[in-house]
Symmetry: C2
Subunit: 497 residues, 2 copies
């Protein structure tokens, strides 16, 4: 795989000076064009030590307008980063639409180096690569242009480079123990890198391998590649399939047959008397209080997702959790229309950004499931967008759970009649009137479509690691206690395992 | 000052139960009303140990709709916070317009406790209080409603509280060494707290002192106070002076006489030959490269502000800095129209959020000075808004400099004729055409107004700690070298002092 990058490619000074001015103008033009487009550009500059990653990024910053490029390195994670799943830092540093993000050191760095040093197994590496593929696919499906460059040096070139540096008193300090150690590991590194590149060279995010020995060849090749990929994307044009973000590969074909069954199996007559409720509320709030303090000690974070019909009682459940918790350690995130910064990113970006710090609890009042519920029904998302959301969501949740976050997802179910009763009751209560609008009645008319969407959602996102919990909510008391109880049990299990 | 909060205020259980339901409905109504208003609410719950800060915040989260309240505690700063001036964390956790932020532990915590423990002098404390007053004033002037509650316990009540806790095996663990130490320091704490409250009880952000002994009295009093302050603000109405954010106190009366002099004193004929330029460019880029690596080592951050006429060459200067720097350690922030998240905060919020991490360099291509330049001229900001911006900016910059950040502010000056030449040259260059629009010509017509605004700006914000540097930019080469040289000198001074 790397042989073509060991042929001794070179560009003469004259050729370089002839070509650079034109390339710069074209890159600047492309960057200007990009600012009017609706997709972000992610450029990864990876490769062998000393192959010129830093220099290439520096060059690109010179050639492009540096005001609309942001370079990221990802050194040692900060403590805020350490409190969240690994990809949190990558999500938070994604460029918005119309901009370029340059990455030296990226999601590839850790798995690659850990495998070379033998800290992780081959299977661990493959799992990490799978995660990377899913991540890049999610971005690409959303429209991101992903350009990945691997700068290569042959073993001989690497040796020669170290020798040259060491022979000059001015540069000798740049060669460290680590460099020699890496040289010894060169063959391992090469074969692992080849594996990594092979697995992650996907249709939507292919690698370009570039020989790193000659700076002029390297710079020109990378610059031209970026220009080509940009122009290729512009050429596809506004009306293309890709640019409409319609996607191309339906991942989850619609369930056929009789889909609307799950919700019908729920026994909505379940209820609690006022006395039962009072006793159990006290019991579980007390339990929750103790557990949440223990969770803070043990730095175990929780995420509670509340989805359900309008007026099903999400707010009421939140208000039963709140008194048991220390307000400094939880956060309620109500999900409404995205802000413009959120709209400029992948739809999952806004949820990543609110992940709880270590030991904290975040309750999402509606959530990322909006993508496959309201956005599906109202056609805010195209069929391909909400179709692929199922697997994107599963992958997102897998990362939360693997990190040790307690994730509980509730669907609050009420009957259609009960909903009407509650709408009318709200209209009769002065301080609740504002909670009922025309829109609620319009949503109600789409009850069957929602029921279908809920079934699809549960069928495709109720995973072993993050199952859905139905709350039979015709009786508010029953639903509240069940919610508290299940969360307590989950949290307890996580703390005492 | 605290005597009124030592009278043994109590509310009977019956009174409490009678009053709470009404209060809750009214608070919820007020919160709903707030969501339609254009200002944020900052509620500080401070006070003596054990006076019920946590419990009060918990209660407010129960009474209000917790989805639209966010509670902040500010424990030990994270390492990301430690890399920026102290107030960075407070700025980043301000509520947006229409929302409530609840603070237990706030900008008062550190100075107060450090003074009690004798870690800072009385003068240090007063300086910290001055900073707090400026901060709160900036928020209040921008429309924020600031509600500050101090929960008080008399020394006897404090003693009694510890005794009660200790006598119960279930609560004994809650009393620590620290509590007894604090009890010993009670008198000091009381007199220092009185000082703090006196200095920071300002017209825009007064303190309410509440006796903390009886939870019912405490809760009701705080709840009612918040409701009153909210309703008071709503009553002022949309057309009031406050709500139009016109402010009331002009801080910086316009300079009278012949203001347009500063820019005229610059000698725009200064220039460099191509050969001089080449030599010096190499020299200073080399120097900058070394210094920036040293800055990273020493964790000294830099901020470079670029302001100047359209086409004065800001981008050209940035491009001369870039090759000397490691792209992983700088960031260029181009300032355009604010995003909607930025618009929902004080105008300085967007600049605070981009402050560099330790050892990094941030270049602002246009900056917070937009407030007193384009926003003043185009009347996006009212006279009072841009008038008070001068002192807000001075205070902001003082915090940067005190934290050890190297702050350099450039004004790029060219003659009106030179600007016209450059506009025309741009129009003739294919890849620069998009840089010239109708708006540039419209701005040009306002040259005199801008000149006036620039003079005012320099006069009021060229402080000893953050002076303005003029770059005579009719000759691009001269301006670029001067910019590099001055930044190198400043950075060198900071590193080698």
């Amino acid at each position: 795989m790397f042989e073509v990058a060991e042929l001794g490619h070179k560009v003469s000074k004259q050729e370089y000076q002839e070509q650079v001015p034109d390339l710069r103008v074209q890159l600047l033009d492309a960057q200007w064009e990009l600012s009017k487009h609706d997709f972000p550009v992610v450029v990864l500059i990876s490769g062998v030590d000393g192959a010129g990653k830093g220099a290439t990024v520096g060059l690109l910053n010179e050639w492009l307008d540096p005001r609309y490029v942001r370079t990221f390195a990802f050194g040692k994670p900060t403590d805020e980063e350490n409190q969240r799943p690994e990809f949190w830092r990558f999500w938070r540093d994604l460029p918005p639409k119309g901009r370029i993000g340059l990455y030296v050191g990226s999601w590839y760095s850790r798995p690659l180096s850990e495998r070379v040093y033998g800290d992780i197994s081959e299977a661990d590496l493959d799992e990490a690569l799978l995660r990377i593929n899913n991540f890049e696919k999610a971005l690409a499906d959303d429209g991101a242009l992903i350009i990945k460059v691997w700068l290569h040096l042959s073993k001989d070139a690497q040796k020669k480079r170290l020798k040259t540096l060491e022979s000059n008193p001015k540069t000798r300090w740049r060669v460290t123990e680590r460099d020699h150690k890496h040289l010894k590991l060169y063959d391992d590194f090469r074969s692992i890198a080849e594996h990594v590149l092979r697995i992650t060279s996907t249709g939507e995010a292919p690698w370009l391998i570039v020989e790193g020995t000659d700076p002029r060849y390297r710079g020109l090749t990378v610059g031209k590649h970026i220009l080509e990929r940009l122009n290729e994307r512009f050429a596809i044009g506004k009306n293309s399939v890709v640019n409409q973000k319609k996607g191309f590969r339906p991942i989850a074909p619609p369930v056929t047959g009789e889909p609307v069954t799950l919700l019908n199996t729920l026994d909505l007559r379940q209820s609690l008397t006022k006395a039962q409720y009072k006793t159990q509320l006290e019991k579980y709030q007390g339990k929750l209080n103790l557990l949440s303090r223990e969770a803070l000690d043990q730095q175990v974070s929780s995420i509670i997702v509340l989805e359900g019909w309008d007026a099903a009682g999400k707010g009421g459940i939140i208000r039963r959790f709140v008194p048991a918790l220390d307000a400094r350690h939880y956060q309620i995130i109500p999900i409404a229309a995205p802000t413009d910064e959120e709209s400029a990113h992948h739809y999952l970006w806004r949820f990543w950004r609110h992940l709880p710090a270590a030991g904290f609890i975040t309750m999402y009042d509606r959530s990322w499931y909006g993508r496959v519920l309201v956005e599906r029904i109202e056609e805010f998302a195209s069929e391909n967008e909400w179709m692929r959301a199922y697997s994107e969501i599963n992958d997102f949740e897998a990362q939360l759970v693997e990190f040790g976050i307690v994730l509980v997802k509730y669907w609050l179910h009420i009957s259609k009649e009960e909903q009407l009763n509650r709408f009318q009751a709200r209209e009769a209560t002065p301080f609740k009137q504002h909670k009922i609008t025309e829109e609620d009645y319009r949503n109600r008319e789409k009850w069957d479509m929602y029921e279908h969407a809920v079934n699809d959602m549960v069928e495709r996102t109720s995973t072993e690691y993050a199952p859905w919990t139905f709350l039979e909510a015709n009786d508010k008391r029953y639903a509240r206690i069940k919610a508290l109880k299940i969360f307590c049990n989950q949290l307890e299990k996580a703390l005492h395992k």
